[in-house]
Amino acid sequence: MLTVEGLTKRFGGFIALGGVSFEVREGEILGLIGPNGSGKTTAFNCISGALTPTAGTITFRGEDITRLTPDAVCHRGIARTFQIPRPFRKLPILENVAVAAHYGAARPTTEAEARQHAREVLTLVGLPTDPHASPALLGAGGLKKLELARALATHPRLLLADESLGGLDLAEMASAADMLRRVRGELGVTIVWVEHIMATLMRVVDRVVVLDHGEKIAEGKPLEVAEDPKVVEAYLGEKIVLA
């Protein structure tokens, strides 16, 4: 579905991504993991058009999308969430999602349809659909949900979820993982899930790609990858717990 080939991103002299290649298959949940600063968010920024890659190509459903602008990428069916939630604080929760539903859909929708769709998505993630509820009322978990709802409202085929679950407690983490599983199940959305706390992620994903210092160091089934000595080393021996 999505093919990334030789993806390279330089910031001045610093190489954030040094020729990374991987593939996302239709219908899967792919985990993209790696220690802090390994280039996960940068990869998302390149795929979604927020950053222009220095080199490499990105192909989505047979189309080269390497140099598309973010809004065009969104219209092709790729949505992304931000690691640190970026809600539109001046807009009510409902409008945050409705504006995404209205402008993010590939085909034109009316404002009423957009609001209706926004209510459905908000219900799915478990946020209030009250037209006056403001994002100011939400805590860290709520803002994460809003981030997800806003991305899902654009009718994506592929969701790039940048979920560093920092700031959430164990129960919230488990429910976030549960949420992504439901999103794939109920909406049929393929997911790339970024995370650096591996334990939660490993239980949910079908395959894992591991980045370290902008290079891909491993790829495969969660169990195999967790045993890989290079991965263990990258995580400085941090124990990868698999329940």
Partner: protein, 331 residues
């Protein structure tokens, strides 16, 4: 019918009847001041279309000047009726605005930088008008070539102030209508999103550049229209009153004073600043030169510090809060 609607209708009826109320010789003066309030409120409203979304332009004088001068020059030199000349002037101004706005949007010139760029643009237009004195009259200004009769529809020149009173009333209402249409549309949410976070807005499919160019074009078009109307009413244009820093700041001050996030904020702010400067001018006359301006400036600073969402905006906010309190008390 809601009380708000009723009040609006009553106000409209009063405004429509005003020119016929006997005012004991004061009529010409009152009409003159009211026309100015309508025209400058309309221009302030046009500015606020951008300002409320964080596109704080300090160069709207450029659009105002271009509109006023283009229509005036077309009439003076080519005898082109302002009905057509005004349209040409608006189109020209929109073209100019897009040329300025495109690079600003492309290179993400935002916030203070945007304010500074537009400030410079406004000054450039003023200096250009002064430099091209052969046909613009330079800093002395330019008088609209008089029509052959006292009342000419073709030239939009009327000795009777009442004509301009109604014309400016209609234009002012047009501005309020445009503001309301935008305010109720999803486009407002998109602009709000862009004003807050362009990256996040683009990520949900909002075409940031298109929206910014669109709102700039709309704001510039209405401002230019205000300029054309100003020129037709005063029959005299001058680079200092219609372009450059002075007039650009005057527009911004009035809107900020009244409140840029509400429909009537720009009007309330403009009415207050015009009334205040008229009052101070009458009180001090020529006795203490600069005194009126000093007090005016001081009051503005105080208002802006203590009422950040404007006089009208703050008052409305207070009313709303009281209403929701009452509602929750009765619930």
């Amino acid at each position: 019918m809601t009380p708000g609607r009723l009040a609006a209708l009553a106000l409209l009826a009063a405004l429509a009847a005003a020119p016929f109320v006997p005012m004991a010789g004061m009529r010409q003066y009152v009409l003159h001041v009211t026309i100015q309030i309508f025209i400058w409120s309309f221009i302030g409203g046009a500015w606020s279309l951008m300002g409320r979304f964080g596109l704080v332009s300090l160069g709207h004088g450029a659009f105002l000047g271009l509109g006023a001068y283009a229509a005036t020059l077309l009439w003076n030199f080519y005898g082109l009726t302002p009905w057509v000349g005004g349209l040409v002037a608006v189109a020209l101004t929109v073209g100019f605005a897009l040329v300025v706005a495109y690079p600003c949007s492309r290179f993400r010139i935002l916030g203070h930088y945007f304010a500074l760029v537009t400030l410079a643009v406004g000054e450039v237009v003023r200096l250009l008008i002064i430099a091209e004195r052969d046909w613009t009259g330079g800093s002395l200004g330019l008088t609209l070539r008089p029509a052959r009769t006292d009342a000419s529809l073709l030239a939009i020149q009327y000795a009777d102030k009442r004509v301009f009173y109604y014309a400016s009333l209609v234009v002012w209402l047009l501005g309020l209508w445009v503001w309301t249409l935008l305010d109720r549309s999803m486009a407002r949410a998109a602009m709000e999103a862009i004003g807050e976070d362009e990256t996040a807005a683009a990520s949900v499919g909002i075409h940031v550049t298109r929206f910014k160019l669109g709102i700039t074009a709309l704001s510039a078009a209405l401002t230019a229209l205000g300029g054309v109307l100003y020129a037709q009413y005063f029959t005299y244009v001058n680079p200092d009153t219609l372009a450059g820093i002075g007039v650009s700041l005057r527009i911004v001050f009035a809107v900020v004073l009244g409140g840029m996030y509400s429909l009537l904020g720009p009007t309330v702010g403009t009415a207050l600043t015009i009334a205040l400067s008229e009052y101070l001018r009458v009180i001090f006359g020529v006795k203490f030169i600069g005194m009126a301006e000093t007090i005016y400036g001081l009051l503005l600073v105080l208002f802006i510090i203590f009422l950040p969402s404007g006089i009208y905006g703050s008052a409305r906010g207070l009313l709303r809060r009281r209403r929701t309190l009452e509602a929750s008390a009765t619930a």
